[in-house]
Symmetry: C2
Subunit: 175 residues, 2 copies
């Protein structure tokens, strides 16, 4: 398992150099920066998208299955995306999901939690029907400040192939 | 396949009577109300959670894999949750997901699209380890105004069992 590098300092460089399918390899791990989940943002997100008592109100939340205020899972998912977009995992053409093999929230996100993301490349394969692109399977684990996983997904992303990588292509010969 | 009823008029009644595991049956379909996805909300959501050019800017979006401005998939997911929470599918204790067997976005959501949700109960089973609750497998399809599916998920929800449904229980006898 190769740790490529964390978020933060290298951001400006990686922003200028998106990754082609050929740049991604099984076992690569990309880490994000960190983000703190504020109580008021938990409530505001829930009010707009998931208005259930355990995401909106401390008293109701205490009596719920969560035993206290918890972020909507969709808030966690959205924050995970933010962290992923700002990490060094930057496919050319953007992070475009084709679907998930797995998606779950093993533990609740609480007010004040500090989240970060680790994404591991599980599989890289060229598309048979679309020669200019491929699919990359990535396990993305969102963790809190205690290292507990609060979201685990295994998703399949569409990533362009490097145009010059065609065997015999003029640019490939020059590379 | 039994269509239970749509969103809207019946909302006030169903708000007062959450569903126990015993109230849910395979083949039941719950339909939501409708929500229009505004262009400015697409951009605002993306700016906060998924700041990629094809969700933020029309010109960049035209040149991207989406061929035009598209909502973040997580925006679609969050709007789906909103529609689901406001539909008549109301488990006692709330909509609490244990994870997904399937999750994908077959088509992009565009500015001005009007979304609604259809949720079909695929499986209802009591928990072996936790006798007071069960798991319900639900396929939730988010559709646009043309009837195209923009999100399909198959999720497993935790739903409480009716306390009086224990065989021989006094309330069960009275029911």
């Amino acid at each position: 398992m190769a740790v490529v590098h964390g978020g933060g300092a290298a951001k400006e460089i990686s922003n200028m150099s998106g990754k082609y399918l050929e740049d991604l390899g099984v076992g690569q791990v990309y880490r994000s920066g960190r983000i703190t989940v504020e109580k008021e943002r938990i409530k505001a997100f829930a009010a707009e998208f998931d208005p259930q008592p355990f995401h909106l109100d401390e008293d109701s939340a205490r009596r719920s299955i969560f035993g206290g205020l918890a972020a909507s899972g969709w808030h966690t998912a959205a924050l995970t995306m933010r962290l992923l977009v700002e990490s060094d995992f930057k496919p050319v053409g953007g992070i475009v999901g084709a679907g998930f093999d797995e998606f779950r929230w093993p533990a609740p996100v609480r007010p004040g939690d500090e989240l970060h993301v680790e994404s591991e490349v599980l599989e890289v394969r060229p598309s048979r029907s679309r020669p200019h692109q491929g699919l990359v399977k990535v396990r993305t684990t969102t963790k809190n400040q205690k290292g507990e996983a609060v979201q685990i997904s295994v998703g399949n992303l569409v990533v362009p192939r490097r145009p010059t990588s065609v065997p015999g292509g003029s640019h490939a010969a020059a590379a």
